[in-house]
């Protein structure tokens, strides 16, 4: 049974004026339970808007978002979200950040159960040593781990990841990809990954769907990734299937990009600015 369905989604931020602020058009997507789907797109193509429609922060102008057959109205604990910029609350420690989610998701559990759960989540992402640290004291990768633990702590049926690793360096990125996959395989939740990295999508997902660049972005044809799990990064490079799919997706995206560039007639005048000697006055 499909866990998530998007039907003819049309989204504009400015419904009164025509042709202005139109982000998404004609989006149709079905995600089955337990599936790992990746949506790949250029930056600025409306990926975050799409994510916010699915997690319930935004409402579509036209069309329907169905989660387990019911229309999405507002956010829900059944859909955990991992934001691109971690969105941890800087005045709370790692424990408190995760605890806040668990307090809301399991209001009926006893104090001890919640405490155990928070600690489990922290252990799962390997941050036990940093339990009482604040986000500022953590590295980017550690922060995103906290964010993962917070989203999963609510025990959601579906994880939505909005470019979760976009701000990380390549090495940390690889590590976290593995960790997310490991956690995902543990109890086979449905996962939706939004990314601009084709390799990341190929490594993690069962199915890849490109998002055509906006305005009026819509989804392209899907590409199946038929590579058995667990996948191995070094072996992937020699995998014929992988190479073929990768080339297809990149070719498709490049074509889209070129078309977009050819269509665009606007010329931007760049301001004539010279760099200035820039120095912070230390206090």
């Amino acid at each position: 049974m499909a866990i998530l369905e998007l039907k003819n989604i049309y989204k504009t931020y400015n419904p009164t004026k025509e042709y202005k602020g139109e982000i998404l058009e004609d989006i149709n997507l079905t995600i089955e339970e337990g599936e790992f789907v990746a949506i790949v797109g250029f930056s600025g193509s409306g990926k975050t808007t799409l994510v916010n429609l699915i997690n319930g922060l935004l409402k579509p102008t036209e069309g329907e978002v169905l989660f387990k057959g019911k229309p999405v109205e507002g956010t829900s604990h059944e859909r955990g979200v991992i934001f691109q910029n971690y969105s941890l609350l800087p005045w709370l420690t790692v424990y408190q950040n995760i605890d806040m989610a668990i307090q809301e998701a399991f209001p009926k559990s006893s104090k001890q159960e919640k405490d155990v759960r928070v600690k489990e989540q922290i252990e799962m992402v390997g941050l036990t040593h940093a339990t009482n640290k604040r986000p500022k004291e953590l590295s980017g990768g550690m922060r995103q781990r906290v964010s993962v633990a917070r989203a999963l702590g609510m025990n959601p049926e579906m994880i939505i990841m909005d470019e979760p690793l976009g701000a990380l360096d390549a090495l940390t990125r690889g590590n976290l990809q593995d960790e997310i996959l490991k956690i995902w395989e543990l109890n086979k939740r449905t996962a939706l990954l939004i990314t601009n990295d084709v390799d990341e999508a190929l490594y993690m997902a069962d199915r890849i769907i490109p998002l055509k660049p906006g305005p009026k972005a819509s989804l392209g044809p899907e590409f199946k990734v038929n590579i058995s799990r667990p996948r191995n990064k070094t072996e992937l490079n020699d995998n014929a299937d992988y190479k073929k799919t990768r080339n297809q997706i990149i070719e498709y995206l490049m074509d889209l990009g070129e078309k977009q560039a050819a269509e665009s007639t606007t010329e931007y005048e760049l301001p004539d600015i010279q760099p200035k000697d820039f120095r912070w006055d230390s206090k």
């Binding site: 997690n55 319930g56 922060l57 507002g74 956010t75 829900s76 604990h77 955990g80 979200v81 934001f83 910029n85 969105s87 609350l89 800087p90 005045w91 709370l92 806040m100 989610a101 809301e104 998701a105 604040r134 500022k136 917070r150 609510m154 206090k283």
Partner: protein, 365 residues
């Protein structure tokens, strides 16, 4: 060790000592000597220059005033009288000194006088307390009022009264402005509807607030014997100074980072949880900026209000000295000016200290 000392002095607002500590620890002597010159020696030199200019200015003013006085006497009363006055001035007789800007030395002398005066009054007070201790006990037992000291307050007493008033006013402002600020920050409708009040009342001068509060408090305290001048001055101070906090709190609450709000939405926090766990902590830096402005405005306005309301404190001290016109009155006014300035500075530092203590951003200016 060294780093923790540096962090410590920075924390209490003595960051300028940092290069000195580093130099003592023999770290990068060239750079730190330069820093010491920049942060310690140059400011101290500027103090000396300031005092020097003051000395020059007061001497010039003294001479002008003295010459005018001699000439005026010469015209009206003849040469003999003029010569007398000139001699009187040169002899240093206090009664015939020209009334003008006092020199630094005179101000320092006035400071000493005020301190001596305080010691005398404090001793007097203590003696009075000891004398009336037994009697007061009896009076209270009989249900009568205790006898209190009603003598003239010393300069230090005035400072204490002023501080009491400013803190009463500050907390009044805090308890009015922060809750209202949060409420109007949360609701666009309320913000729109209350905005005119803020915009109109914010620029009103302290004098007018004082009169308004006087109108109201006078009627309300008609039948009680409470200290109405204190009530009037602290309420006026609170009302004058609360606007900065109100505006800042509302702005802070209204402009919480959307990321944090999205988190609150995704986690489905209940409204109260959202306010206390997300919105308030996120707007704390701005609230504190507002409170800092409020405290400094409160202190500034307080002097004017005390001066007008004739309630005891530094403001009335200044006004009384001005009316008094004694030979060292001008010097005492200047002493009060420095005391007011330094207390204002200290209050601001205290607020900064508290702000750094509770702020999650840790590095606020």
């Amino acid at each position: 060790m060294k780093d923790s000392i540096i962090r410590g002095v920075k924390f209490i607002g003595l960051g300028f000592l940092e290069p000195l500590i580093r130099l003592i620890c023999k770290e990068d002597p060239k750079k730190n000597t330069k820093e010491i010159f920049r942060k310690i020696i140059a400011p101290i030199a500027s103090i000396f220059i300031f005092v020097g200019l003051w000395q020059l200015g007061s001497t010039a003013l003294y001479n002008t005033e003295a010459n005018y006085k001699i000439e005026a006497t010469l015209k009206s009363q003849g040469e003999a009288e003029a010569q007398k006055i000139k001699e009187c001035m040169e002899s240093g007789e206090p009664n015939c000194q020209p009334n003008t800007l006092p020199s630094p030395a005179q101000v320092y002398a006035a400071y000493q006088t005020l301190l001596k005066d305080h010691r005398v009054i404090a001793a007097d007070k203590k003696a009075f307390k000891e004398k009336t201790f037994e009697m007061n006990k009896k009076r209270v037992a009989q249900g009568k009022k205790a006898i209190t000291y009603t003598g003239r307050p010393s300069f230090v007493d005035q400072i204490k009264t002023s501080l009491k008033t400013v803190f009463a006013g500050f907390f009044l402002a805090l308890f009015i402005a922060v809750p209202i600020g949060i409420i109007i920050g949360l609701s666009k409708t309320l913000r729109g509807s209350i905005n005119w009040i803020i915009q109109i009342f914010k620029p009103v001068s302290p004098v007018v607030w004082l009169l308004l509060v006087f109108m109201i408090v006078k009627t309300l305290t008609k039948n009680s014997d409470s200290d109405s001048s204190f009530i009037i001055s602290f309420i006026s101070v609170g009302l004058c100074s609360m606007w900065a906090t109100l505006v800042n709190t509302a702005m802070g609450v209204a402009s919480v980072n959307t990321d944090y709000l999205n988190v609150a939405m995704v986690l489905r926090l209940r409204p109260m949880q959202k306010i206390f766990k997300v919105i308030l902590p996120a707007s704390l830096p701005l609230i504190f900026t507002g409170l800092r402005i409020t405290l400094s405005v409160a202190w500034m306005v307080l002097i004017a209000i005390e001066l007008l309301a004739q309630s005891p404190g530094l403001g009335s001290f200044v006004w009384e000295e001005f009316q008094n016109g004694a030979m060292d009155s001008n010097s005492k006014i200047i002493v009060a000016m420095f005391v007011i300035g330094m207390i204002g500075f200290a209050l601001d530092r205290i607020m900064l200290f508290i702000q750094n203590l509770i702020s999650f951003e840790k590095e606020t200016i």
